[in-house]
């Protein structure tokens, strides 16, 4: 579905993404784990078209993705940016409507909104509340719901668990699984490696702009290097 091939991204002289190739298949959860500054968000922003790649290609459903963010969204690739980026002084409903900005089919938008409420029951209770008054977890749910309102085929989540309490993290990941089960491919970055890897169908480890490891979520989770570097599990001395 999504195919990133040998992509390089520079910030001035800094080489942030080096020859990264990744792939996401239909209805999978694919995650990228890595430390701060590894280039996770950079990669996301590049796929979404906010940053320009200097070389390489990104294709989606066999077609090359256009260069501008709004055209990429129209193709069905939606990024839920880091820190959620909700409109704090709009209500939950208005935020959801904003997510359907590119769509013209009013009846279907209404239907989708109902569907969002069944997917995220908490949002139905908060329907008329300002997005800024929601708790962190609810805001993340709303951000994901807003992303889904554009009916994307691929939903990219940049650090969905950022700043959430451990209990809420589980809740957010559960909903991500639900979204995947509806048939939307998920591509996410996480620092919270253990939880993210547990639900991932495939995972990549990104270090200083390079993919150093890849495999199914379980494989990566069980890799001793990953355990040492990201999970804080000490190797047993033998």
């Amino acid at each position: 579905m999504l195919k990133v091939d040998n992509v390089n991204v520079f910030y001035g002289h800094i080489h942030a993404i080096r020859d990264v190739s990744i792939e996401a298949k239909d209805s999978q959860i694919v995650s990228i784990v890595g430390a701060n500054g590894a280039g996770k968000s950079t990669l996301m922003m590049t796929i979404a078209g906010v940053l320009k790649k200097s070389s390489g290609s990104i294709s989606f459903d066999g077609e090359l993705l256009p260069a501008e963010p709004h055209k990429i969204l129209a193709k069905g690739v939606c990024l839920v940016p880091e820190r959620r980026r909700l409109y704090a002084n709009l209500t939950v409903r208005e935020n959801l409507l904003a997510g359907a900005y590119l769509r013209k089919d009013k009846a279907a938008i209404q239907e989708d909104m109902e569907e969002m409420f069944s997917l995220f029951p908490i949002l139905k209770q908060r329907f008329k509340q300002y997005a800024g008054t929601l708790s962190g977890g609810e805001q993340q749910m709303l951000a994901i719901a807003r992303g889904l309102m554009s009916r994307p085929k691929l939903l990219m989540l940049d650090e969905p668990s950022l700043g959430l309490a451990p209990m809420l993290v589980q809740q957010v990941f559960d909903t991500i699984c639900n979204v995947r089960d509806r048939g939307t491919t998920i591509f996410m970055t996480e620092q919270n490696a253990s939880d993210a890897l547990a639900i991932s169908d495939y995972a990549y480890v990104l270090e200083t702009g390079r993919i150093t490891l890849s495999g199914s979520g379980k494989e990566v989770l069980e890799n001793p290097e990953v355990q040492k570097a990201y999970l804080g599990i000490k190797q047993e001395q033998s």
């Binding site: 906010v50 709004h70 939606c78 940016p81 980026r85 409109y87 904003a98 900005y101 992303g147 554009s150």
Partner: protein
């Protein structure tokens, strides 16, 4: 006495037109321009050359002056907005642009260089200035409450979110810049035909700063605010004439006081329109009879 007041009002209303344009670009789209005097200058020069040298119709000349400003705004806007310059970076680019336009006007033959254009026909009267101001205010309000305006506000509030929702930052910002430049150009044309003489040194960065100050002091995201603020800013130096040499100090003090007492501006994010007045009257009426019954309403 009326002539004196009329003169001040005319100049104030002309400034209001330019401020309305900047309101769309700064107050609603969130981009700071420090070079709007250049657009006023381009509009003023275009319109006056058309009327005094080509004997064109005054209103046609005004419109063409506005369009010329708009056209130039596309030239400066295209590279800067395409490169996604924001905040101070964009402000510095426009600051440089404003000065560049002034220097170009000083060196062109058709503009008569630094000596300026003389003998521009006096076509701006109080009546047509007032009518044009009212008309342009209505157009601005329609722009702001249209789809375009809402796109602008979405970008002002959070450009990352707006971009992720599929709003094209570049076109929306360029459209707002074009609109504000056209407004500034029309204001410039009216100004030239009111004072009958223009020279490049009238359009300095001081004027750009005054426009920005009016938008910020009047309130971002409001049309009423900058409108009122510009009227006040134009009238203040005259009212403060009694303070004699302390005039400019008092002017500065009032600006500082506005920012300290009302950081969101006089009308920050609010409008004085029919809806607001209606709600306000309702509030007063509701308060009088039943005080205890109200209150717990959130």
């Amino acid at each position: 006495m009326w002539n004196y007041i009329e003169g001040i009002l005319c100049l104030a209303l002309i400034s209001v037109i330019s401020v309305l344009g900047l309101t769309v670009f700064t107050g609603f789209t969130g981009m700071f321009s420090m070079g709007h005097a250049a657009f006023i200058a381009i509009g003023a020069y275009t319109a006056s050359i058309l009327t005094s040298k080509a004997h064109a119709n005054f209103y046609l000349a005004l419109a063409l002056g506005g369009l010329m400003s708009g056209f130039v705004s596309l030239i400066i806007g295209y590279p800067t907005l395409r490169a996604k310059l924001q905040n101070d970076y964009f402000a510095i680019a426009t600051l440089g642009f404003g000065e560049a336009v002034r220097v170009i006007l000083e060196n062109l033959k058709i503009t008569n260089g630094a000596r300026g254009l003389v003998g521009i026909p006096a076509r701006s009267t109080f009546l047509n200035i007032l009518l044009i101001t009212v008309l342009l205010t209505i157009i601005t309000a329609h722009y702001v409450y249209s789809k375009y305006g809402r796109q602008s506000v979405a970008i002002r509030e959070d450009h990352v979110a707006a971009e992720m929702m599929g709003i094209n930052l570049f076109t929306v910002r360029l459209r707002a810049l074009f609109f504000s430049a056209v407004m500034a150009g029309i204001g410039g044309g009216l100004y030239a035909h009111y004072v009958n003489f223009i020279q490049p040194s009238m359009f300095t960065s001081t004027q750009s700063t005054t426009l920005i100050a009016a938008v910020v002091a009047g309130g971002m995201g409001s049309i009423t605010g900058p409108f009122v603020a510009m009227l006040i800013f134009s009238a203040l130096p005259e009212i403060l004439r009694v303070a004699d040499m302390w005039r400019l100090v008092a002017y500065g003090l009032i600006l500082v006081l506005i920012m300290v007492l009302r950081p969101q501006g006089i009308f920050g994010y609010k409008e004085l329109n029919f809806k607001f007045v209606k709600r306000w009257i309702k509030k007063i009426r509701a308060k009088k009879p039943a005080l205890p019954a109200e209150g717990g309403d959130a």
